[in-house]
């Protein structure tokens, strides 16, 4: 904070994004109080299905006011909470 001393909120970190997404997944897809680990595959483990992925993508676009391009919509970018955190971070201003 003090290094730049700029006004306004500090930029959101990968870890914060991952935590927000983790909470969204827990509330919308898990139901049973379980949580997912940062590197657990959301799709391979069956936590999120094909309609769930669309909901997740819409949630990310609305929450972070970003727009994914067509070529962004591949498994590599959305596999786990940490990959989502990393990828969404690249879409945000530094």
């Amino acid at each position: 904070m003090h290094e730049h001393g700029t006004a306004g909120a500090s930029p959101v970190t990968e870890q914060q994004i991952a935590a927000t997404v983790g909470e969204f997944v827990r509330r919308n897809f898990l139901f049973d109080g379980r949580s997912v680990g940062p590197d657990e595959s959301l799709t391979q483990s069956g936590v999120v299905d094909s309609t769930g992925i669309l909901e997740l993508i819409e949630f990310l676009e609305a929450t972070y006011r970003i727009k994914f391009g067509d070529a962004d919509l591949v498994a590599d970018n959305f596999d786990s909470l940490s990959t989502i955190g990393r990828f969404v971070r690249t879409k945000l201003p530094a």
Partner: protein, 508 residues
């Protein structure tokens, strides 16, 4: 023709051609035919006899394809179970069909083991890989490596090829028994109207547990084409890549699949000109999707179709008729006769609403071990030697033989192309503490066909929320049976006899 002969024929004609692309592997016809022969020999040595059931509980992988063809070449009957199936239902299916072998994966092993505890004579387990095969299980790779010739069969095309389980109105799955001849008849009809040749490359994202998915294998293999197999559609751009990289010419989808694909906004700029046709079945295509699909895939002709597991396919709408008959599912496919009948089975004239009836070589042999349910759906035909099939779907037919869907004739909900028994979902919700009464209904949904709505009356003093009910359903039921909405109501409408009124009585 016997279905496994497709591979042998194509392997003689074009051994080096790639038959199957699955994940990282590319398998030629020669290799696929060789592996099928080896697997069938091993299955017979493991005790599989003619007509024995081999269950396959896997995602869309090369092992699923080999499992299907190896079983057929061994004279057996394949039972591909949707990988989203929960242990209880898997156990029911295994017990109901008396499976002798269960092919599954390490990831699915815990669910499979749980299912086996429900079986009086549990099937032997087969798992992919060679490494750490647990005790009591056999390695798929070892079965492929075993030397020996394929068994000599005396089967004919009236023998069963596969059993596909579908939801019955009571909530218990029913096994639709299809012979080699049933499936081959549909393969020939589809090949004709889609004009399939050896040059075709079909992208299959539909589960091989469904009849629509299985046809994506059998049609290309019968004509020497290539199948590109994917485990569903999660990420739409992966489909674009696959179409481009493999030069895909044919793509089969359902509205849920197209909803994901149409998320992409620049599809028309991707240059996917190899695609020559797209098909839709499982649920009616939302009218708003048609212009968007045409714009996105300008080189592809769009075929809207109708079918049901009990006869695989009934109608297709020739693409040139789409603009003049946008709400129709078309007319009968080649070698299938269709008409609309009243409650007594008498044919109805044009424009009248009645049940679609089917006559042809495609109609199932019956439901496995369920003569009562079979007798309800399969009726005596015009001649003593033939039968006709009821579809349970209400349609109108016009003067030119084009059909337009009206509604289901029974209480089943059709969501995401899958039949869902409201009773099964209600029974699941009734096991939740605090639920006094529940009614599950289908409500119109553009993409799903019908969405599932649960109306719940709580016991006095009990509190539950929507997430709790959904979560409970998700633990007990496959994804497509979990309600999209749960509403809490004070009471449910009753009939004069005090029974909860069904959806047909109240939902417009």
């Amino acid at each position: 023709m016997l279905l496994h002969e497709y591979l042998r024929r194509s392997s003689r004609q074009r051994p080096a051609k790639v038959a199957l692309v699955a994940g990282q592997s590319r398998i030629t016809y020669a290799q696929l035919a060789r592996d099928t022969d080896a697997l069938s020999g091993s299955l017979v040595r493991a005790g599989v006899q003619r007509g024995d059931r081999v269950a396959i509980y896997l995602e869309n992988t090369s092992e699923t394809v080999l499992g299907v063809f190896g079983t057929l070449a061994a004279g057996g009957v394949f039972v591909v179970v949707n990988p989203a199936t929960q242990p209880d239902r898997l156990g029911f299916v295994l017990e109901n069909c008396g499976a002798r072998i269960l092919v599954t994966s390490h990831e699915k092993l815990p669910a499979a083991r749980q299912a086996l505890t429900l079986c009086t004579a549990p099937p032997a387990l087969v798992l992919p890989g060679t490494g750490d095969t647990p005790a009591g299980a056999v390695s798929f790779t070892n079965l492929l490596a075993a030397p020996g010739d394929p068994p000599r069969l005396t089967s004919t095309d009236v023998d069963l090829a596969g059993i596909i389980y579908t939801s019955g109105s009571t909530g218990k799955p029913k096994g639709v028994c299809l012979s080699h001849g049933n499936i081959h008849a549909v393969v020939e009809g589809v090949t004709e109207y889609l004009e399939h040749t050896e040059r075709d490359v079909v992208l299959c994202v539909l589960p091989l547990s469904s009849s629509y998915g299985l046809l994506q294998l059998f049609v290309p293999f019968s004509t020497g084409g290539t199948v590109v197999l994917e485990k569903g559609v999660m990420f739409p751009y992966e489909v674009v890549r696959r179409i481009r990289d493999e030069g895909v010419t044919g793509f089969a989808g359902a509205p849920t699949v197209f909803a994901i694909l149409l998320r992409l906004e620049g599809l028309e700029n991707e240059g996917l000109s190899s695609l020559r046709y797209i098909t839709n079945a499982a649920a009616a295509m939302p009218a708003s999707f048609v212009p968007r699909i045409r714009k996105a895939f300008p080189s592809a002709r769009l075929f809207l179709m109708h079918g049901l597991t009990e006869c695989l396919r009934t109608t297709y709408l020739p693409p040139e008729d789409l603009d003049t008959r946008p709400t129709s599912v078309g007319r009968g496919m080649p070698n299938v006769e269709l008409w609309v009948a009243d409650n007594d089975g008498r044919p109805l004239g044009p424009g009248k609403v009645g049940e679609m009836m089917v006559r042809g070589p495609n109609i199932m042999q019956g439901y496995w071990n369920d003569p009562e349910a079979t007798a309800r759906m399969i009726l005596p035909g015009r001649h003593p030697w033939e039968k006709v099939l009821r579809t349970g779907d209400l349609f109108t037919m016009d003067e030119d033989g084009y059909f337009t869907f009206v509604a289901r004739s029974d209480e089943l909900i059709k969501s995401r192309g899958e039949k869902v028994s409201p009773i099964e979902v209600e029974n699941a919700i009734y096991t939740l503490e605090g639920v006094a009464e529940v009614r599950v209904v289908g409500v119109p949904d553009a993409v799903l066909g019908q969405a599932i709505r649960a109306e719940v009356v709580l016991k006095p003093g009990m509190a539950l929320d929507e997430a709790a009910v959904k979560g409970h359903c998700k633990r007990l039921l496959e994804d497509f049976k979990v309600p999209q909405t749960v509403v809490f109501v004070e009471s449910l409408p009753k009939t004069a006899g005090g029974k909860i009124k069904r959806s047909k009585d109240t939902i417009a």
